[in-house]
């Protein structure tokens, strides 16, 4: 197990692995959450004891770093692809606070084991045409009344038109149910991406 909070030194982000007592570098080009931190996001809602639902975890690169922050809570990683989930299961056996869920993020209400779960934070990293819908659906099902969300919006997945118009359009959809606290473009690290952090009304 490795438990230690983020350490900020020389502008890079590290976590400390207690087993080997070595620092692991968190690369912003591979993880969108790290890119957001590097661009200067003031407030990340993930705390020591929070329960997180991570949609689109893939092989678990970002999840492994978030699990260092969430010492006493748990992270539920959801993904559809069986091939990348195979590697995530290996990671889950290493780290106590990761839980794997192999299912479609569109239809999570059909998954029996997740019934009655309430989480503090939802991280939405699925790049689909209906990204905002997926977030809305899961927020209704699983999010606590004062829970937060982190959405990484990939505009090229929606259409090839002007990125500013698409972002404005999607934010209008979000403002019905959520209160947006922060938004930031991830330009040098990820092109045409935006990270949005907000709170449930």
């Amino acid at each position: 197990m490795s438990i230690k909070n983020l350490i900020r030194a020389d502008g890079n982000f590290y976590t400390l692995d207690l087993n080997t007592k070595e620092k692991r570098l968190w690369e912003p080009t591979r993880s969108k959450v790290c890119a957001a931190l590097k661009k200067g996001v003031n407030f990340l809602p993930i705390k020591e004891d929070s329960i997180v639902l991570y949609l689109g975890c893939a092989e678990g690169y970002t999840c492994s770093y978030l699990s260092d922050i969430v010492e006493k809570g748990t992270i539920y990683g959801v993904d559809l692809s069986p091939h990348s989930m195979q590697k995530f299961v290996l990671l889950c056996k290493e780290r106590k606070n990761l839980v794997p869920v192999l299912f479609d993020a569109n239809k999570l209400e059909d998954y029996d084991l997740l019934k009655g779960l309430k989480v503090d934070v939802i991280v939405q990293d699925v790049a689909q045409k209906n990204q905002v819908e997926i977030l809305n659906k899961n927020a209704l099902l699983f999010l606590k009344p004062n829970g937060y969300f982190i959405l990484s919006l990939k505009t090229t997945a929606i259409s090839q038109k002007n990125t500013r118009d698409i972002i404005e359009n999607e934010i209008k959809k979000l403002e019905k149910d959520f209160e947006i606290t922060e938004k930031r473009r991830l330009d040098p690290f990820e092109k045409k991406h935006m990270i949005i952090i907000g709170k449930k009304k």
């Binding site: 195979q86 839980v99 779960l117």
Partner: protein, 250 residues
């Protein structure tokens, strides 16, 4: 929430999905598609050395026979007949007297190289056979309509059999021709492609230009029926083959 239950369920679901026959075929066939490129690259590098021994030989025979000739101790007509080469031009080139002689050490190195290429060709054929046997066992109707090779190639592009079964027949007709289709749409060109992977089908390849498009459209409709029959467990081989032969006579 108990973590053990989640782990057990995901591992169980994983295995069901990854061990299914369509995923096995796709994994095997992706190698089969890419290996010939690597073999050709290696063969070109082999020819840098052997071109001075047998000039212009590669124009007469294929890679497999070329490597077999290099493995021979002494090249005579009888030895060539044993491997199965009866092309007279090959003997002309060997007897022409232009070729240089190499040292024993260099000959050994070249033989090793040729052996390795032959081994790679053998591996490719075995992988292809294995993929074909799985495909013919699980999707008999689909394979009988399209031919086993095209069936496997379609699976690789679609990603899985359930995805392929949900495609309309117009998509299946153009499977493999995505690049030229999107190009023609973007340029505003009126000429759209008529067939993709189906171009190599035995019924289409030797027809006139007008008939090719028609038969491709007709076959694509039958392929959709064949895939759905295979998934539901029915065997429609006889009915479909009768319908196809009837249509082609017209």
């Amino acid at each position: 929430m108990d973590k053990k239950l989640f782990l057990e369920k995901t591992i169980k679901d994983l295995k069901v999905e990854l061990e299914s026959p369509d995923q096995r075929i796709i994994a095997l066939y992706q190698i089969v598609d890419k290996l010939p490129k690597n073999i050709n690259e290696l063969f070109e590098q082999l020819r840098v050395v052997t071109d001075t021994i047998y000039p212009n030989l590669e124009k007469e025979i294929n890679v497999k026979d070329y490597c077999k000739i290099l493995l021979l101790e002494k090249v005579t007509i009888e030895e060539l007949k044993k491997i199965g080469i009866t092309n007279t031009k090959v003997i002309e080139i060997i007897d022409s007297g232009v070729s240089i002689t190499l040292e024993e050490k260099e000959k050994k190195l070249i033989k090793n190289f040729a052996e390795n290429i032959l081994e790679l060709i053998k591996i490719k054929e075995e992988l292809e056979n294995q993929a074909h046997t799985i495909a013919e066992k699980t999707y008999p109707t689909f394979c009988s309509v399209t031919g086993t090779k095209i069936a496997c190639q379609m699976l690789v592009i679609a990603g899985s059999i359930s995805r392929l079964s949900r495609m309309p027949s117009s998509t299946i007709q153009l499977l493999g021709a995505e690049k030229s289709l999107f190009k023609s749409i973007k340029m505003g060109n009126k000429k759209t492609p008529k067939y993709g992977l189906l171009f190599n089908h035995s019924l289409i390849i030797n027809k006139t230009k007008k008939d090719k498009g028609r038969i491709a459209r007709f076959l694509a409709g039958k392929i959709v029926i064949a895939i759905k029959a295979d998934i539901s467990g029915k065997d429609l081989r006889k009915e479909l083959s009768e319908k196809i032969s009837k249509k082609i006579k017209e």
